[in-house]
Amino acid sequence: MRWIPLVVAMLCLWVLPAAAVQPDEILADSQLEVRARTLTKELRCMVCQNQSIDDSDAPLARDLRLLVRERLQAGDSNQEVIDFLVARYGEFVLLRPRFSAHTAILWLTPIGILLIGVFVFVLLSRKPAKPDTDLTPHEETRLSEILRRDGV
């Protein structure tokens, strides 16, 4: 049980990501704060280029961060907060677009390529390579002799 002190030591050093994006935004309820951070990483700062509101210094991002926390404190679930923001700002606010008719290509491309690739892989690999079967038994032994001599 020599590892117990080690575990205890590591536990003491374990710090929850307690800080928010700006010190005055932090919620007192640390569980709610963790949820807020998760949500703000999924939401786009709409005036920035490819930044989440969690990363952005823009005033709009700060307003949205405060809004997210307000909704969470009012008792909304994560999904409700997201729905609220989408209703207000449109799909553009989501960094991970929802699956729907107009994002089907986006979401299905990776799986599509993979499936086609696997199909081609199976197609090309199932049949045995031809030259292998063309060798007579004599040639086979001769070849393996040569291979052995060359140390392959």
Binding site: W3, L6, V7, M10, L11, L13, W14, V15, P17, A18, A19, A20, V21, Q22, P23, K41, E42, R44, Q49, N50, Q51, S52, D55, G90, E91, F92, V93, L94, L95, R96, P97, H102, T103, I105, L106, W107, T109, P110, I113, L114, G117, V118, F121, V122, L124, S125, R126, K127, P128, A129, K130, P131, D132, R148, R149, D150, G151
Partner: protein, 660 residues
Amino acid sequence: MIAELGHYALVLALGLALVQASVPMLGARKNDPVLMRVGSPTAIAQFAFVAIAFAALIACYVRSDFSVINVFENSHSAKPLIYKITGVWGNHEGSMLLWVFILALFGALVAAFGRNLPDRLKARVLGVQAWIAVAFELFILLTSNPFLRIPDAPVEGRDLNPILQDPGLAIHPPLLYLGYVGLSISFSFALAALIEGRIDAAWARWVRPWTLLAWMFLTLGIAMGSYWAYYTLGWGGWWFWDPVENASFMPWLAATALLHSALVMEKRDALKVWTILLAILAFSLSLIGTFLVRSGVLTSVHAFASDPMRGVFILAILVLFIGGALVLFALRAPLLKQGGLFAPVSREGALVLNNLFLVCACGTVFVGTLYPLALEALTGEKISVGAPFFNGTFGPLFVPILIAVPFGPLLAWKRGDLLGAAQRLIGAAAIAAITIAVVFAVSPGGPVLAPFAMGLALFVMAGALTEIIERTGMLKVPLATAFARAKGLPRSTWGGMLAHFGLGIAVLGIIGETQWSAERLGELKPGQSISIRQYDLTLEGTSTRPGPNYRELAARFDVRRNGSWIGVMEPAKRDFPSRGTATTETALMRRGLSQLYVSLGELKPDGSVGVRIYYKPLVLLIWLGPVAMAMGGALSLSDRRLRVGAPKPARSKTALVPAE
């Protein structure tokens, strides 16, 4: 005068490129060796003139010649010399000139070092290379001329965007361009082979070193860019899935796939058509990247429309080259003799699987980057595709690659023994299992998947070492014998091992940083402290001091670890009056492979200052991994078997040693 000289040199380079694009091609067609040999000297001369143009622009910057619009808009007389020079490619026109400079450099390298290439192939490669040069030199001369003058020269320039005034700008763009413009050589080889209608294993031998060279620079360039963003932007991120980053990452994924498929082609004379296609795709992705970054389409589809000349010109180049190459591919590929089929469990099977997942990952990044642009252009609807999408799709796709990496080198060509490979990887798997158990034990309640990810990273690293241990018999034979065998192993084996090991290192860093980093934010007055993990940072005070072209507010922190003093960190904020903008200068303190990271926020009227502090475990591995990968590439490149033109050894010495 110097600007005109540069402009004139660029026009001459275009003229030479036109000769290089036509005469050797004609020679190859007519089988006229005299015409074919025009290619090499022209390629070298074209490079020389582009180099003169590039040097002329640098001279304009160094002399702060503000009568040149480009210098006026991007430079300042008070700027330190290094940033005057690097500012040359810190803007659209200059960076395009760097692009063409590197394109011509690679052409000249083929001309100079491709002595043993068959005349006809060489003529066609240089010809295709010159087609690209013609297109981009025209682009510069017609739409993005860096040598234009202003009638009334201003006394002072507008200065370079302060974020770019960093040593990162000296290294990152040149490396990145060496990488993705270097892929033009693979593209030219592919097109030359298609025009010729003939391709053999020797072709793969010629292409692989060039691809490897470009890939090494691309790897380093991307890693350097990531580190630069990490310390400059001030919020501790190192990869943002930004379209500009994706633009360089997609060619990297394709080039990585190409390196592996060229291996199959070289050794087994299979996958020819696929290798050609990958070579075309890799450089096409570079072109698409150039289009994304240079056309302004990223800011918005509308910005692209408001400055149509450049955007449309690059788009035309894109359509011409990618479309043309694919049409040529469709016409000629069926004529190429297809290689044999392969057994699924074999070295080549593993390499095909590697290609499958890399291409799939590349396709994911591609669609994620371009889909929002396409959707907006077609329907006007705006959606965002950001980090959560890429992490959720790219991440899972990379897991099978990582699991498969150690198996590949342990499988034999033609017919591999999966069970045997698995048995040899038991050691690596055990190391992974122990890692998972230890990580679970020391961080209970942490992220659930993280310990497995750590285990996977260790599996990749240990798996890479397994190959060397197996091939030297390190654990079975006396150390001296193993050492002798290690020396006898081809350098490409060591290179591959190092590259795979580097991949594991990078994954380890990524997991460590994303899963266990800590963040604190606070407002401190002098004398107050803030703690993160076992570190305490005390604000000693703030001071302002002048720099060459900025004023700096620096804060001084005393850092203590468990109470004992270990050093000082000095983050700063710089104000650049010439542009009215500010930058954050983060302070970094290395702790083993981890880092403490401090960046400054606002200075409040009451004297307190906002700070953002991170503890980033294993973060350095994120960039050391790619460095190891690039070193692996260099090692492989130095292998005599890859050096085109190296005489073949008369008889392998090891073959004379009786088998054990």
